[in-house]
């Protein structure tokens, strides 16, 4: 018992510095936002009266609803596209690539994720734009006469750009789940007379599901809060929720309303994530 106490004390004193840092730099500001969301915005100052008005305003404002719905739809489409496109790549690296080449593949996949996010987003605008790479090549080849309009500075181009930006985030968790699968299970499936497709469907996929679920959440949550892509691609005309929070907080200087927006957005994301995990709970049990 005394040994456990000493170990617990050693562990707690070690974790204290990073934990306190996260408390001061992250938890305290988040709690402040929560407190602000219940206060009233006055001229040049914040009036310390408790109120639900900010939330009432967030709930009833049609613009908030449009922007929130847009953010949710964009994030869901991006997540679906990213995870579906990523799965075969993760599968390829885990099952087909020779073990000594795996880390090279993972390295190649993660590099673009860490290089000049802003410039990459801007380059998608260049690639998809009116005189962009796609349109000028297609017109040059005589395939189309008029530039394609469905990829011009709109929600579609936001989806393409975000799907590109978060691709590695989806591959890594799926890869980890696939790596953990005991290969003898697949052989057993084949030996028992299942076809390759059925083995994949009944053995590989269910075992890979924890990774797929992690990939979904790890793409969905940051995507819905993306600020740069709507700003650069949409030129500020197609705001998502992050842009709206920023405008309320700074440009309009209404911090209580901005805070209420931020808290509402976080709540919606949390609720959706929990529902999603609940619906897929049987896959999470598989691992135990």
């Amino acid at each position: 018992m005394a040994k456990f106490d000493a170990e617990a004390r050693a562990g707690l004193s070690l974790i204290a510095p990073p934990f306190l840092y996260a408390l001061v730099i992250l938890a305290a500001p988040l709690l402040t936002i929560l407190a602000y969301s219940f206060l009233t915005d006055g001229y040049l100052e914040i009036i310390r009266d408790f109120t639900w008005t900010n939330y009432a305003q967030v709930m009833s404002d049609p613009i908030v609803r449009v922007v929130m719905t847009r953010s949710l739809i964009v994030a869901m489409v991006v997540t679906a596209v990213t995870v579906l496109l990523a799965f075969p790549v993760a599968y390829y690296v885990s099952f087909v690539v020779r073990p000594e080449r795996k880390s090279l593949w993972l390295f190649l996949i993660t590099i673009p994720f860490w290089t000049s996010y802003l410039i990459r987003v801007f380059l998608w605008k260049v690639i998809l734009g009116y005189n962009g790479v796609v349109n000028s090549s297609l017109t040059g080849l005589g395939i189309i006469d008029e530039p394609l309009t469905f990829i011009l500075y709109n929600v579609n181009s936001i989806v393409i750009t975000l799907a590109h930006a978060y691709a590695p985030f989806a591959i890594l968790p799926i890869f980890v789940a696939l790596e953990k699968i005991d290969r003898s299970l697949l052989e057993a499936g084949r030996d028992l007379g299942e076809s390759r497709a059925m083995t994949f469907w009944r053995v590989t996929l269910p075992l890979a599901m924890p990774g797929v679920l992690a990939a979904v959440l790890i793409v969905f949550i940051p995507t819905i809060g993306d600020y740069v892509t709507p700003e650069v691609i949409g030129g500020g005309k197609i705001p998502m929720i992050a842009n709206m929070i920023q405008v309320q907080m700074l440009a309009l200087d209404n911090r209580p309303l901005g805070s209420a927006l931020a808290v509402t957005a976080m709540l919606i994301v949390a609720v959706i994530s929990l529902i999603f995990l609940f619906l897929n709970r049987r896959f999470l049990k598989v691992r135990q």
């Binding site: 673009p112 990459r120 962009g132 920023q246």
Partner: protein, 272 residues
């Protein structure tokens, strides 16, 4: 036979996918050396004009100095804090470990706009002057989870008996850590420093909102994207930054793998 055809189909797809991932990055040098001022095809001619304009730009130099200051400070801070967390979570069992670690890792998935806005509101509310220091505080927070992910692999594959042997031979706790543990996890520490440095160098949101009037490289780039005439120089800058990031990440990867080899770990894993 069917294994081969299936493998080949998947391989073709994976290569196409990599091409999609690298498409924007591959375009960068093409436009950086193109003499046309408009970023579009067909290309005009070859020039290094944009690179010389880039070196001559005083604001850009200031942004570079600021970015380097921020990246060095926040990567050192994040890695120091990460060493504590990784050591605690891999070596000791204590109440609340999962919860505390989960909270520390939270910035990995939390949208940066939330981190930036809440921190900004608090700083403004307290009357703190926005500066490079406030950006460093924010960057260290978002680099810390990545640092911990790398350092945890390094710490978890440590053989505990090596430390115990050092104790038995009369070393103090600190002596054993300094002489045995630290050298063994050093590759992990270097890898963590390099990755945190790269993340900080490329981070935009926190720098945009918390830097006050000081430019960093990403905020400078953002301010220039509105001006079509400034774009070729930005393409040149982007080319340099991408090459720099790839070199740093490759060195980080080299150290991470060397560390794994030293303690007999597998070559994959790392950030996972």
């Amino acid at each position: 036979m069917s294994i081969h055809s299936k493998g080949r189909g998947l391989q073709a797809y994976a290569v196409l996918y990599l091409l999609f991932l690298y498409a924007p990055i591959l375009l960068l040098p093409i436009f950086a050396f193109n003499s046309g001022t408009i970023i579009a095809f067909p290309l005009q001619g070859f020039t290094t004009e944009w690179f010389s304009q880039m070196w001559a730009n005083a604001t850009l130099r200031r942004a570079l100095t600021n970015s380097l200051t921020i990246a060095v400070s926040s990567s050192v801070l994040a890695t120091c804090l990460g060493v504590f967390a990784a050591r605690a979570s891999t070596r000791f069992r204590f109440p609340g470990r999962g919860g505390m670690m989960g909270f520390i890792m939270l910035p990995m998935v939390l949208p940066e706009i939330i981190v930036a806005m809440s921190l900004l509101v608090v700083l403004l509310g307290m009357g703190v002057q926005l500066s490079l220091l406030t950006v460093i505080l924010g960057h260290a927070l978002i680099c810390m989870p990545y640092a911990i992910a790398i350092l945890s692999t390094a710490f978890s594959s440590l053989d505990r008996s090596l430390e115990e042997a050092a104790f038995d031979l009369g070393e103090s706790k600190w002596g054993a850590f300094r002489l045995i543990t630290l050298p063994l996890v050093m590759p992990g520490i270097i890898s963590s420093l390099l990755i945190s440095f790269t993340i900080s160098l490329d981070e935009f949101i926190i720098a945009f909102f918390l830097a006050g009037n000081e430019p960093t490289l990403p905020t400078y780039i953002f301010s220039q994207l509105r001006f079509p005439r400034a774009i070729p120089v930005i393409m040149a800058l982007g080319t340099v930054l991408v090459i720099l990031s790839i070199v740093l990440l490759a060195i980080g990867e080299y150290f991470r793998r060397r560390g794994n080899a030293r303690i007999g770990g597998s070559p994959t894993g790392g950030l996972l």
